[in-house]
Symmetry: none
Subunit: 200 residues, 2 copies
């Protein structure tokens, strides 16, 4: 059993501070990783139906959404160990697809993900801004049997929460409270409360 496998499957029991949070998570969706998702393209394609449901970039509203659409946004997820991962999230007009770009390759490397492995996304049931990311090895069963039952009801409630707090790349690690306004990305920090020093 590898170190990463250990963290993935046993973290529910090992990290007690996360146990409570897990009970309050709802699964959003998961994806089996393609070779491109873990390869040199350094991006994860988010299936459009999930992207538009859970991570809307703009819903046809005016104003700031324009900038959000053009520049993308920064999404933050807590992993199984409580570590915060930030990904640039944007829409590629050329391929008409939603993608996680900046930061994604680091996640792939850190978790040693291969094609066929599965990543899944969750969010806090009550604190809807709080997002989680997890993974499991290809062929492994999902740890929670209730995973697939969740989503349809919660969808409508989530859309309204995405707004335009912003933070610069280079200053992300300068402070955990993210006081700086970024010119480029709409940014919602889903794990601001998790004090984690990391490179983005």
């Amino acid at each position: 059993m590898s170190v990463n496998h250990y963290h993935n499957t046993l973290s529910l029991h090992q990290h007690h501070q996360n146990d409570v949070a897990i009970a309050h998570r709802e699964s959003l969706f998961e994806k089996s990783l393609t070779p491109s998702d873990v390869g040199k393209l350094n991006r994860l394609v988010i299936p459009k139906q999930h992207a538009e449901k859970y991570f809307p970039l703009n819903n046809g509203g005016g104003g700031d959404d324009v900038a959000t659409t053009e520049k993308g946004m920064l999404l933050s997820f807590e992993d199984e160990s409580g570590k915060c991962w930030k990904f640039r999230y944007s829409y590629w007009n050329s391929s008409q697809s939603y993608v996680l770009t900046k930061g994604w390759s680091r996640y792939v490397k850190d978790k040693h993900l291969d094609a066929g492995d599965v990543v899944f996304f969750q969010r806090h049931r009550f604190d809807l801004h709080r997002l989680f990311i997890g993974w499991r090895r290809r062929g492994e069963a999902s740890s929670s049997p209730a995973v697939s039952a969740v989503s349809q009801e919660a969808l409508v409630n989530t859309t309204a929460y995405w707004s335009g707090l912003t933070t610069p790349y280079r200053q992300v690690h300068a402070s955990t409270t993210y006081p700086n306004i970024h010119q480029e990305y709409s940014h919602y920090d889903a794990c601001a409360r998790v004090v984690t020093v990391e490179k983005l």
Copy 2:
């Protein structure tokens, strides 16, 4: 012998009007072109040490320099035939590198430059704003045997001329006879006296 080769190696003797100027040139630096420099990226990376010595974008003086840094500037160079080449010159924050972009691909195409070929930059010894660009084929010796000896000594002598400039780019530009003010780029026309109609 190709047409371009002819121009390159014989121009010293063919173009008498340039002979005087050549004697008054000092080498700044040269670069062996990478595949990317002559490929589809349409840009030339200027090694940072040379860029900051010879083509400073901001001199730490504040004010207009900020705009210069953000927007880049237009650099003009005379080639071996006296033709004026204008390149957009700017700094890429993301890669922390200085690049010639707009106009560069035209130069590569015109001179039929390939990877391994060398481009070199010179400036007038007395009229320091007058810049020159030249090239030679991969493997060819520098036309002036003294060049490499000159550059080391000249580096020290030349550095002060740029950094010690008290005249901002915009004022220099305004003092030339170049009638058109560019809206986007800080622009110093190093070959204003060469009447050349060209598209940039």
